[in-house]
């Protein structure tokens, strides 16, 4: 109900912004700020005939490796930190420092360490996302309620069963939230890293930025945003379907 009542406003916001952008675009000219109508044409052109899709898919494939590794490392690490004091005190100082470090600041070091190839891009994506995934999982693991573990123990659950029946489901919403935050950071780091070594979608953005018209450049940015939002929405949808108790509980409050 609430959502439906707000729909006209949501649409008005989008249309209003597009109109303002169109006016600004026509005033400034497309060598400075291309209007949305021109951007739409450019986007269609890049998607249908240009290198956009190939470069994007290539970049995303590499991103998935670094991001997948980040999930594989960050989730168990965060869970272990949340459940074990010792693990927490060992890892936490590093986690706190690395999570606030911009991935861009690591570029020079990583170029020295990994060269400018696949390893470099994977490492940057990994470093940009793993700490957010770890931290989110850690928060979830900390919040697991002792009384739920007691219930499991009371019914004779083994440690393995407590992991499967209590820890994992309790952690599930946090794993998904971590995956979402991590993915956003991974996407941002991917483009940034690619602009340093001039490959993939990042290179495409960089080169297109040298064009006379800004329409293709803006089209590339809009496509990137759409892909990021889409990936985020997919993960959110997975969460809603697989953990209905979580979303509903939040709404009930």
């Amino acid at each position: 109900m609430e959502r439906q009542a707000l729909l006209p406003w949501r649409l008005a916001g989008i249309v209003g912004t597009l109109v303002l952008w169109e006016i600004a675009g026509r005033t400034l000219g497309d060598e400075r700020l291309a209007a949305p109508t021109l951007v739409a044409v450019a986007a269609w052109d890049l998607i249908a005939h240009g290198p956009l899709v190939t470069e994007l898919l290539g970049s995303l494939r590499q991103l998935l490796v670094g991001y997948g590794l980040a999930c594989l490392v960050g989730m168990p690490l965060g869970a272990a930190m949340g459940r074990s004091r010792r693990c927490d005190v060992i890892v936490h100082p590093w986690l706190s420092m690395l999570v606030v470090t911009s991935a861009a600041a690591l570029v020079p070091l990583f170029l020295v360490l990994f060269g400018s190839g696949l390893m470099f891009r994977m490492a940057i994506v990994f470093m940009a996302s793993v700490w957010f995934i770890t931290l989110t999982t850690y928060e979830g693991a900390k919040r697991i309620e002792a009384r739920h573990l007691d219930v499991a123990r009371s019914f004779g659950a083994s440690p393995m069963q407590r992991f499967r029946y209590v820890l994992l489901p309790a952690l599930y919403p946090y794993l998904l939230a971590g995956a979402r935050i991590g993915l956003i950071h991974a996407l941002r780091a991917m483009v940034m890293a690619e602009m340093f070594v001039l490959v993939g979608y990042g290179a495409l953005i960089h080169q297109t930025g040298l064009d006379l018209s800004t329409a293709p450049l803006l089209a590339l940015l809009v496509v990137l945003m759409t892909v990021s939002l889409g990936a985020n929405a997919v993960l959110q949808r997975i969460g809603r379907v697989c953990a209905p108790w979580y979303e509903n509980r939040r709404r009930a409050r």
Binding site: R147, H148, D150, V151, A152, R153, S154, F155, G156, A157, Q161, Y165, V166, P169, A170, Y172, A243, P244, W245, Y246, N248, R249, A252
Partner: protein
Amino acid sequence: MPHSKLIIEDISKTFRRDDGTQMPVLLNQSMEVADREFVALLGPSGCGKSTLLRIINGLVATDTGRVLLNGKDITGRPGEGCGMVFQSSDLLPWRTALGNVEFGLEVQGVGKADRQRVSRDLLRRVGLTEFEHAYPHQLSGGMQQRVGIARAFAINPEVLLMDEPFGALDVQTRDDMQVELLRLWEDNQKTVLFVTHGIEEALYLADRVMVFSPRPARVLKVFDIPFPRPRREEIKTEPLFLEMRREIGGLLRASREPALA
């Protein structure tokens, strides 16, 4: 008592406070419970009733003594014949009502068809058939506690441990739940240890009421409750009921006095 189902022998427990000082909660407590007996443990809050129940269940390690079920030592071993109903029901929020009732059976490795049959039957008996797919947050407090009770009954435990199961409910719901619990228990009589701080609740439900002192908990007096089964709610206004209620009330007040001074 020729055949004791449950024997509690010389249980003591001291917790360490955050500031490092010792806090004795239970001192050398022993008791015997007969098969199918309904025993109420009545005492002021904070005296150590939950701790005793958790020790019997094996969730908390005891400092001394042991717990015997059918003569077998079950000290510190959860899942050995005891089913617990927790204070605030403590349902698993990610499981539906049915899934929560199934939990104990699932842990025991009972197949899906079997455990659903048992669990559906129990949900029906506590009047929640239509709510089997509801998550705990969609249920009222009374319904949640019904699921909690069904969950404990599902594993068909030899001893049912109930820790103030109706403590958080409003008076009307509590009265209804007491009637319902007795009906369920009379269908399927088990040995019950029922922790409460309600005198009326203890008298209405139990065969025997053990009155505990404030911390460290020890048994002040044991009352045998003479009212016939099945219990009728009307006994709550009988002179004998009121007399016992007064006596226990006086006992609890007297035991509190030194603490007030």
